[in-house]
């Protein structure tokens, strides 16, 4: 019996009038043409087991030995989870990682995710031959001098490791060692970056702003600039970002600010129309948290029209 763990969403058995109803599992070898339909009911034997985690994102079942013996070295097995005739998840059609089950021995790395990984973030390594005991898996990245850098193993099972990407790791070779066996692959690492877009979103284009993070000035816009974007390297963790008025001629600031997906805004209002006394300076502070994720352009920025990519004019002056 070979345990097989799949990840996805909504893969728990469904509660029906007669109790839990388990999905069927259809295995199709594209090379040999051998098909197998498993109908697990979890009645207490391994060949019938279908176990999920609480969040229904992971399910483990067992591939029968009788089916494995029909496989060849180059077999590619499509896995289809059938909740019903209408609800099916197919590894080939849905282009999962990996698309197929393959068969191997020893220590092998099938894939790593996310791509790219980021320094200090987590990396999942999927393969075979890993050790269930964390310390028995040695994982190394490469630094910019091409030296090996050891990584902390956060969790381990025979088919999956989760490790923390070292701060000094760069794109290059990833090595996993278990006992006297070694497996390598290439891993893409990206430094953590931050993207901010900000500007004037009043009907009069007259304001300019300066951005500082933890007291250090980062960049500034020109008067009336609708959309000013900054991309910069940053470390993970909580920061204080300040948006300060440079040119705000009518003592009335109209502003917005949006962040890349790896930033959570903990406090601060990301758009506003703010009046202030003559002689004062406009300033808004934001508490943000930079997460160890690869950067994207600002997402879900409500202040930019997704069709025209133009800034929405939200405030009248």
């Amino acid at each position: 019996m070979t345990p097989l763990t799949i990840t996805g969403t909504g893969i728990c058995p469904v509660n029906g009038v007669f109790g839990l109803k388990y999905p069927k599992i259809y295995l199709k070898d594209k090379v040999t043409g051998e098909d197998r339909l498993l109908t697990p009911k979890n009645k207490g034997t391994l060949d019938d087991a279908y176990q999920t985690n609480k969040s229904c994102t992971e399910a483990t079942f067992y591939v029968p030995k009788s089916y494995l013996t029909l496989m060849q070295d180059d077999s590619k097995v499509v896995v289809e989870i059938q909740m019903s005739d209408e609800e099916k998840a197919n590894s080939e059609l849905q282009n999962t990682q990996p698309n197929y089950l393959t068969f191997g021995e020893g220590l092998q790395i099938d894939n790593v995710s996310p791509v790219p990984a980021v320094n200090n973030g987590e990396l999942m390594i999927v393969g075979i031959g890993f050790n269930n005991q964390k310390p028995k898996n040695k994982v190394y990245f490469t630094d910019r001098h091409n030296n090996k850098v050891s990584a902390d193993v956060l969790s381990s099972s025979s088919q999956k490791l989760v490790v923390q990407v070292p701060a000094t790791a760069v794109t290059g070779t990833l090595t996993v060692e278990v006992g006297d066996k070694t497996a390598t692959t290439t891993v893409e690492i990206s430094a953590i970056e931050l993207i901010i877009t900000f500007g004037d979103n009043g009907n009069l284009t007259d304001d300019s702003f300066q951005v500082s993070i933890d007291g250090s000035v980062i960049n500034e816009s020109i008067p009336g600039e609708r959309k000013h974007t900054i991309k910069m390297p940053i470390s993970i963790g909580e920061k204080t970002l300040s948006l300060k008025g440079i040119t705000v001629p009518d003592s009335l600031a109209t502003y917005y600010i949006c962040f890349s997906n790896n930033v959570a805004v903990l406090s601060g209002t990301t758009s506003g129309r703010v009046t202030f006394a003559e002689g004062d300076q406009f300033q808004r502070n934001f508490k943000i948290k930079v997460k160890p994720l690869a950067v994207s352009n600002p997402v879900n920025c409500n202040y930019i029209d997704t069709n025209t990519n133009a800034v929405k004019v939200l405030w009248q002056e």
């Binding site: 009038v17 007669f18 109790g19 009645k43 019938d48």
Partner: protein, 139 residues
């Protein structure tokens, strides 16, 4: 005379299973052949599109309180079973007692083949009621 006795013995045995209710039948232990017989009976009812017979395997309380949902679930099981047995080249390979170790669950494991290179497994699951009585889980 010897043949006749054998025949009578089988007949009596068969009648003994048939006389037991489909819901709440008793078994002397988890190896009792009645599990195989009830599994076969339930599969025959599904193969014959016999919803009324399938309902005899269901908790009578459920039949009164959740009749529509019961029928829906039974029809779904029937559809699955018909899909199984109507596969081209379908042939039942084995139907045998499961080796599960849970006290309150018993099972019958079913293996079948179909063409061109299809193998499948299914099972009947039984859940214990009180006083050595059992019911089939109809899904």
């Amino acid at each position: 005379m010897r043949k006749l006795i054998t025949f009578l013995a089988i007949l009596i045995s068969f009648n003994a299973f048939a006389q037991q209710p489909n819901y709440g039948f008793t078994a002397k232990d988890k190896k009792d052949p009645i599990f195989i017989e009830k599994c076969k009976s339930f599969r025959q009812a599904m193969a014959a599109n016999d919803l009324a017979m399938m309902r005899t395997f269901v908790d009578p309380n459920l039949l009164t309180t959740l009749s529509d949902r019961v029928d829906e679930a039974l029809l779904s099981s029937m559809k699955d079973h018909l899909k199984e047995i109507n596969r081209k080249g379908y042939r039942l390979i084995s139907l045998k007692m499961s080796t599960g170790t849970r006290d309150n669950i018993n099972g019958v494991d079913i293996e079948y083949i179909a063409s061109p290179k299809f193998t499948g497994s299914d099972s009947c699951v039984f859940e214990a009621l009180e006083l050595a009585r059992w019911k089939i889980k109809p899904v």
